[in-house]
């Protein structure tokens, strides 16, 4: 087991190095002048030169490759030795390793602070959507397989087919219209935007627990958790806040969770049907086990492997959906932050956020892979 984990860990190192380079390169080749984007009308030759020096943009991008004022990229092979270590890439890698993602040119805040503000929204949204998708998806899948070809099965699979085919933004907008306008002023009314009702004030956990003097990474983690409002509300036993948070999350989570739900339901159904056709199931039935025990205790447990794979694969598209869901429901999460940063050439934010997101994915995939080894010991031997 240890060897399997180690080998899998080692194999993700080249991928992470590749991600760091790609993120760096993408941020540099995005056209447009970061100085003009940051300073707006105040941008002129003098201020831009000062800006470039202050942000290290006058250095070579990688050894021998420069960006000249105005945005064009220029190769100066003669300067490769001089810029071998003194270039933006080396500075970038050094900063990243020490946990410094730079300062947003648009907000004037450290990127780490922005991450602490924005990432919790996306994490919360994704967790709500995923929980909904997994629970409902597996339930529907099991029901369909158990009562195969019944009306419930055909109907569920029809809905699943429609579910995977409906774009997040179409479903999100329709839900918002249905629950905020059509059902407005009824008991079923749900808010179509923001994370909380207007005017709601959320005290930080640091303030509540008298930990405001705390600094360093521990404080960052505490603030991060504090911005996951569900966690915050539960930790402070603030049930009114929890209710408000959940009410605001229902529509976005439903919109975002529908596609993974449909996929999970389909894969659960076909995987469980595969299992139920095997000999050991017949044996279990033959020895007189009740139907429910056969399906749930024997069949379902063995049918979970492909389901876990699919859940892992869904995380990537779930994030893509989160960008759209955040746009529709006015949630200030990382997806929206990155698209906005790209449009305003906020290099530091683009780099920091995409890097954290991509590395987060590598780690999640790693966890999914490792979980196979626990679910199915045969995986290690391959």
């Amino acid at each position: 087991m240890t060897r399997f984990i180690l080998r899998r860990l080692l194999s993700s190192i080249p991928v992470i190095i590749g991600i760091v380079f790609l993120v760096f390169a993408l941020a540099r080749i995005i056209p447009g002048d970061p100085c003009e984007a940051a300073l707006g009308e105040r941008a002129n030759e003098v201020t831009c030169e000062r800006y470039a020096v202050a942000h290290g943009l006058d250095k070579a991008i990688i050894p021998g490759i420069f960006r000249v004022p105005g945005g064009a990229i220029e190769a100066r092979p003669g300067e490769i030795p001089a810029t071998f270590l003194d270039n933006q890439f080396v500075v970038f890698v050094g900063d990243v390793v020490s946990g410094d993602f730079g300062t947003s040119s648009k907000f004037g805040l450290p990127v780490t602070d922005l991450l602490i503000q924005r990432l919790p929204t996306t994490v919360e949204l994704t967790l709500y959507a995923l929980t909904f998708a997994i629970i409902a998806g597996i339930l529907l899948g099991v029901m369909s397989a158990w009562r195969r070809n019944s009306f419930a099965d055909v109907f569920t699979m029809l809905i699943a087919n429609i579910g995977v085919s409906t774009p997040v933004f179409v479903l999100g907008l329709s839900l918002a219209y249905l629950f905020a306008i059509v059902l407005g002023d009824t008991a079923l009314e749900l808010p179509p935007s923001y994370r909380l009702s207007p005017g709601t004030d959320v005290p930080t956990l640091a303030a509540t627990w008298g930990l405001e003097d705390l600094g360093g990474p521990l404080r960052s983690i505490l603030d991060f958790m504090s911005n996951i409002y569900t966690f915050n509300a539960i930790a402070r036993a603030d049930w009114a806040l929890l209710g408000d948070v959940v009410r605001h999350m229902i529509l976005p989570a439903f919109a975002l969770g529908t596609i993974p739900l449909a996929i999970i339901a389909r894969i659960t159904r076909s995987s469980l049907l595969d299992e139920l056709g095997l000999d050991y199931i017949r044996t279990a039935r033959a020895k007189g086990l009740r139907d429910r025990a056969v399906v749930l205790r024997h069949g379902l447990r063995n049918a979970m492997l492909p389901v876990v794979t699919v859940i892992g694969l869904q995380l990537g598209s779930l994030f893509g959906g989160a960008v759209l869901t955040e746009t529709i429901f006015n949630l200030a999460g990382v997806g929206r932050a990155v698209t906005e940063a790209i449009l305003s050439r906020d290099y530091a934010v683009i780099q920091g956020f995409t890097l954290v997101i991509a590395i987060g994915f590598v780690l999640i995939n790693l966890l999914v892979d490792l979980s196979y080894a626990f679910l199915d010991p045969r995986v290690q031997q391959r």
Binding site: V15, G18, T166, F169, V170, L173, A176
Partner: protein, 318 residues
């Protein structure tokens, strides 16, 4: 007693025809038969044929021009006006607009109908591009193995590590917004999937006896890959590709929705929904109709892809 006599011919007939008849069963005829037996695939094909017809005859079906602003052409026309269909009780004095009017006083029906052309073309071109490049990378990696394989597949892993839509957004921003660049971005993002599928099939086919036999007969590496391996590795690619078309249509629409794909005033479903999303609460029809068209197209490709998979992959036959 007469029953066996009655039953015999229909049972014997097809078997004899298939085995010893003048027309031997071919892969393609078998496959077509298999596909037509899949209910989902048939439903998908029917919906798809409908949209293809709509795309071909868009000019004849829509009475209005998709980008023509109707102010001044029609009296009393208002922006965001709801659908007006005479058969459903709309007064005869008003002009018929089946899907209503959008925020720029254009006929939504005409825009949805013309949007069909864009979406279908997007789907096929994007996936075609990704398949060709992915097939090339995958077969090189799978056939040569070793270092080449390692380097190529690690690059694919890096691409796969990014959420597809985010990477596509970044690529479009580098290339500049527009439909063609959006397609290119979605295509690039999809390459690793096809490269992986191709590599996996090449790995298994490369060891088959008929490949060894061809090599013994003096076939070159290129010949082996092009004539022996690729044709036999196509099935999973076709299945993945059909399902991929659905994803590509969705993703390009998503890019258009955030304003990076099709640029106004061109009619495309994603950008129509994006532009109209602000007026959703006053005029739901401007979002709903392109939304339904988009969902139906994606549904058709999904159903067809599922059906193809069941028909082409005997292991999955149940």
């Amino acid at each position: 007693m007469t029953a066996p006599v009655v039953l015999e011919p229909p049972v014997a007939g097809p078997v004899e025809d298939g085995r010893a008849g003048a027309r031997p069963a071919s892969l393609w005829r078998d496959t077509l038969g298999n596909i037509l037996r899949q209910r989902n695939a048939v439903i998908g094909l029917v919906i798809l044929s409908f949209f293809v017809l709509v795309a071909i005859f868009a000019d004849q079906i829509a009475a209005y021009d998709p980008i023509d602003v109707l102010i001044g052409d029609e009296e009393g026309i208002k922006k965001l006006a709801p659908p007006c269909i005479h058969a459903l009780g709309c007064p005869e004095t008003m002009a018929e607009h089946y899907f209503g009017i959008d925020g720029n006083v254009r006929d939504v029906f005409a825009r949805v109908v013309h949007g069909t052309r864009v979406s279908l073309r997007i789907g096929f071109l994007t996936v075609g591009f990704a398949i060709v490049i992915g097939m090339f990378i995958g077969s090189i990696a799978g056939y040569f193995g070793g270092k080449v394989d390692n380097v190529l597949m690690r690059i694919m892993d890096v691409l796969l590590a990014f959420p597809a839509l985010l990477l596509a957004v970044a690529i479009v921003v580098v290339l500049g917004p527009g439909l063609l660049n959006a397609q290119l971005a979605i295509g690039i993002v999809a390459i690793p999937i096809y490269a992986r599928v191709m590599r996996a099939s090449v790995l298994s086919i490369r060891e088959r006896d008929y490949v060894t036999a061809s090599r013994a007969l003096g076939e070159s590496d290129l010949g082996l890959v092009v004539r022996r391996i690729i044709p036999n590795a196509l099935t999973p690619l076709i299945v993945q590709g059909t399902l991929g078309v659905a994803g590509a249509v969705l993703d390009v629409a998503a890019l258009s929705f955030i304003g990076l794909g099709t640029q106004p005033p061109d009619a495309e479903w994603g950008s129509m929904i994006g532009i109209a999303s602000n007026s959703m609460f006053v005029a739901p029809h401007v979002v709903l109709f392109p939304g339904i068209a988009l969902s139906l197209t994606v549904l058709a490709f999904n159903l067809l892809g599922d059906g193809l998979r069941d028909a082409l992959d005997p292991r999955l036959n149940r």
